[in-house]
Homo-oligomer: 401 residues x 2
């Protein structure tokens, strides 16, 4: 059961990958960008050095297949980043998977494309590899900030026409993903390892208000149809109502509010909100969904600017596999006695999709200051090294039991 993880090599790999798309102390590798594709080629080269069969598929998934005998594990995460974001979010789980393979474990290494959701739908890679992404969804999807069609982005990245790989049924005993916490729960309690109990589901919405673009001086308050004002009133209603109906760990976020044309002297003719909420419990998710529908209906009865709500994604919460969790807990207790806890994941991860096909589990490292999706995101080298050792130990225990 004793395996040796080369943590120096692991950290060296992480710091090498960090240079691709470097931005301040973080990185900028949006999905299918030049930098993102460079990082995927870098990963395939690393896989080949380790004797894995490396390939890339039609959605950008990079896969390193172990050529020896099974039973096999699958390990990995994603390699693209949010815009001007952190160096570890995603990259950590991929490079940790490389470290497991280097230690001689029978591990297939995967980097799933667009976990970060630069394109509509999000989780394109993990959805695709489990057979949940249709060609029609690919046809429809556009870049959330660029508006570029996904098909066009795939073609520019040189991926058009490549087949999309599927998980080989029965090949894997389970999927492990190491990730940063992206919160302060570990740090604030002085803990160094988080064994994840489950992954919340994210339900994502777009709400578009249509008003009348007019001059801000010539149109009286009574006459105007200000799409921005209707949007503000809905968001204020959500701010009032959601705390009354949410669960203890629910979160909700309006990450984008865009007014058109967005000029000081023009009444906005259109307003768009990107709104999401997250929870581990389906009944809570359903209640938040119903509340949102009700608030939009109330807005449409009250306001002069009609709102159209569209649900962009509706995931199912994923619970982690109890056997894999037990192995992670034993390994955590061995390497960091008293310095770990079991905890839910507030963020979505590729593991939530892999969990539909095989037992899956996740391990969290602390995030300094809880900072995430920002270039200042960081974790100490000591915590990174500790957690890859815990992961390797747990993987060996799980293979052995």
């Amino acid at each position: 059961m004793a395996i040796h993880i080369d943590t120096d090599r692991f950290l060296a790999d992480l710091h090498e990958l960090r240079k691709i798309g470097a931005y301040r102390t973080g990185v900028h590798r949006p999905t299918y960008s030049k930098e993102d594709m460079e990082s995927r080629r870098w990963l395939m080269e690393k896989m080949r050095e380790l004797g894995l069969e490396a390939s890339i598929d039609g959605i950008g998934n990079v896969y390193g297949r172990h050529t020896g005998a099974g039973p096999h594990l699958l390990a990995g995460s994603h390699i693209e980043t949010q815009s001007h974001a952190g160096w570890l979010d995603g990259a950590l789980g991929v490079v940790a998977a490389l470290a497991l393979a280097r230690a001689g474990l029978p591990v297939d290494v995967a980097a799933f494309a667009d976990e970060e959701g630069h394109f509509e739908g999000g989780f394109l890679g993990s959805k695709s590899i489990i057979g949940m992404l249709s060609e029609e969804e690919i046809d429809r999807s556009r870049g959330r900030t660029t508006g570029q069609m996904l098909r066009e982005a795939l073609a520019e990245a040189g991926l058009a026409g490549l087949p999309r790989m599927q998980i080989e049924k029965g090949r894997h005993k389970g999927f492990f993903e190491l990730h940063i916490e992206q919160g302060t729960q570990l740090e604030s309690q002085g803990l160094r390892v988080g064994v994840v109990t489950g992954i919340v589901a994210i339900w994502q919405y777009r709400i578009v208000f249509t008003g009348q673009q007019d001059h801000a001086g010539g149109t009286t308050m009574a006459e105007r149809r200000d799409a921005g004002l209707s949007a503000v009133r809905l968001l204020a209603a959500i701010d009032q109502e959601f705390p009354r109906i949410c669960g203890p760990r629910s979160v909700w976020t309006a990450g984008k509010i865009a007014l058109e044309p967005g000029a000081p002297s023009i009444i906005p003719g259109r307003a768009e909100i990107l709104f999401q909420f997250r929870d581990l419990e389906m009944p809570t998710l359903e209640l938040m969904h119903e509340t949102l529908l009700r608030l939009v209906a109330e807005s449409n009865r009250r306001e002069k600017c009609p709102a159209v709500l569209s649900q962009m994604s509706r995931a199912i919460p994923a619970l982690c596999d109890p056997n894999m969790m037990a192995c992670l807990e034993q390994a955590a207790q061995a390497h960091a006695p008293g310095k770990w806890q079991a905890m839910p994941s507030g963020a979505g991860h590729d593991a939530q999709y892999l969990a539909r096909l095989m037992p899956s589990a996740m391990l969290f490292t602390p995030s300094i200051g809880g900072i995430s999706h920002h270039w200042a995101e960081d974790t100490s080298d000591e915590d990174l090294a500790l957690n890859v050792r815990v992961l390797g130990d747990a993987a060996a225990r799980f293979l052995a039991n």
Copy 2:
């Protein structure tokens, strides 16, 4: 007193100018853009054809000086447009001034730069020509949507180093500006001419909230500092409070709300609001200003994301000259008996700055559907022709009295 306005020529000029930067049925000529500078050269050529001495100055003002004997009038407006906006907003007053000069009236024709406020401050041209725009203000000003420094934009437009012209004291008996109403008050009463009584002042603000950019899943509702949410709460408070303290004709508008980074799964770390209000009465403006200060102070006591309020412009309401108004009313009654009214202007206009140096007055044409600052803005050729005749008649009456 009887003068002849060539309305066919006037309409032909308007339709010719409409082709520069044409966008659908409107135009796109942002200040100092290639299209804007082309329209300024077009105007100078038209001025020269009429025997006016044409020049452009260091802020982009185009001026056509009448070479004959006085007393002189000044007439004009602006020639740039809002983005993807109407063909008549500004252009109408400039081309009408050409028509007056063509009819033999002793008129200097002016197109004042950036009335539309593509750059911070706004009204750059009319402020500059009355001596109200300092070099320091030019140094500081940036494009409101582009962020480009004004100095850089001037240099790219070939205007760097040109002197800035000043109104010659005592030369003009008054300033006339013909403009579209940008509202529905004329149309809804079946009227064709509006004699403006005064121009509201616009007070423009920027409000910036600073929060903490974080992952939308890993950060609990209690921990997060969501700059977008603080911005929404302030706007909701304004929506509650302003109707209680405003005047009967006050208007207020949040034309822009920008969240950074503006992605679905990231808690906004920064939110910026562009907010303005307008009124004809100084006490009402002062009360709205004090109310805004109070609401921002309340926000800063209540919210975790501090707000910084900066006032970008603070104009003074301008009342129109009674003698000039009387001439406009007589002319309106002569050409459109019973089809005109006196009315305030809810929009800001160059005339409000010229009014500080000389008697000034404005005339409004109807706007179809009240649409303004949008490419669908329009006025019938009949109403355009009628109003330029009223303007010419009034100018002749005013020169004669």
